[in-house]
């Protein structure tokens, strides 16, 4: 279970509109700002702000003009943690391709919720407890959205008190199992 919690934490860290695209595109851009901006079709200020956040999170290293021997050399490089997270980003990206429901990791908590359900956390409060910092409002919204996408099914239990329980859809379960296994293997 400890490994599952670690994997959930990794997917939580990889949540966001730009973090996975940046991790997966940095090498292709030669680590340079302009090619990266053009590959991602992102505004310069937004890219700067995301790179700053990722630098602070220890995923990338910003090389100052004094540290580069040539203007064409990388401005940003993946750190050891960044290289590890890039592998995890690949797993998430490939899994999302199989799920065909868009870029789920762009929204915070989508992946932690899917993994919590895979780990047999079926009740709202149990999921909330596992994910710790998620607010009830966001958790409720994410479960609703995942249900609307057909990734999650919900069942109304009436005894002893009426409440919903949640589970991965049967088609989704093997895909998430495979992702969980691949992400665990990285640890």
């Amino acid at each position: 279970m400890e490994k599952a919690v670690q994997v959930i934490q990794i997917t939580k860290e990889l949540s966001g509109r730009w973090i996975i695209p940046i991790l997966l595109s940095l090498d292709k851009s030669g680590g340079r700002f302009t090619p990266l901006k053009n590959i991602l079709q992102i505004s310069p200020s937004r890219l700067s702000s995301n790179l700053k956040t990722m630098t602070e999170a220890g995923l990338i290293q910003h090389l100052s003009p004094f540290e580069r021997n040539h203007p064409l050399l990388p401005e940003y490089e993946l750190t050891e943690k960044g290289l590890f997270m890039k592998e995890a980003a690949y797993v998430i990206s490939n899994t999302e391709h199989q799920l065909s429901q868009g870029f789920l990791a762009a929204k915070a908590w989508n992946w932690p919720v899917l993994l919590a359900l895979y780990c047999q956390y079926h009740e709202f409060n149990a999921i909330r407890q596992l994910l710790q910092t998620v607010t009830p409002r966001i958790l409720s919204r994410r479960l609703g959205e995942l249900w609307e996408k057909g990734l999650v099914e919900k069942t109304l239990i009436t005894d002893p008190t009426p409440k919903y329980t949640y589970a991965l859809n049967d088609d989704v379960k093997p895909i998430i199992r495979s992702a969980m296994s691949d992400l665990s293997a990285l640890l």
């Binding site: 340079r32 302009t34 053009n38 310069p44 003009p65 004094f66 203007p71 064409l72 401005e75």
Partner: protein
């Protein structure tokens, strides 16, 4: 050991603006331009001598001046002023040696005109 060829490389904040400066204002010939990758270069008036540019997020202006030889510095200053180049002060003279005047490119990289006396 060396073969003919000399290239200066600068980081620049806006490749298109820089290319315009070096071609239209300074009059050098465009040699390459890759907007997608933020890379470009110009061929100076000297054979095998190029200036390359790479767009970057953060620029530190170079204080190592790239010095360009001119036949008549006063005529060159007049012509380049008409093209919008702003010079730093007046022409300096090192008697018996050289006449100099400096200016900057759009990112503040130091450039200089020189007339050998």
């Amino acid at each position: 050991m060396y073969k003919p060829g000399f290239t200066l490389w600068y980081n620049v904040s806006d490749l298109e603006r820089t290319m315009e400066f070096y071609t239209e204002q300074l009059g050098f010939e465009k040699y390459s331009f890759d907007k997608e990758n933020g890379m470009g270069s110009v061929h100076t008036n000297t054979k095998d001598c190029y200036i390359g540019f790479s767009e970057a997020e953060k620029i530190i202006p170079s204080t190592a001046a790239a010095v360009m030889e001119v036949e008549n510095i006063d005529a060159a200053v007049k012509k380049l002023t008409e093209k919008g180049i702003v010079f730093n002060g007046d022409v300096s003279i090192i008697p018996g040696y050289v006449k100099l005047i400096t200016f900057k490119d759009p990112d503040g990289h130091d450039l200089e005109l020189s007339q050998t006396l």
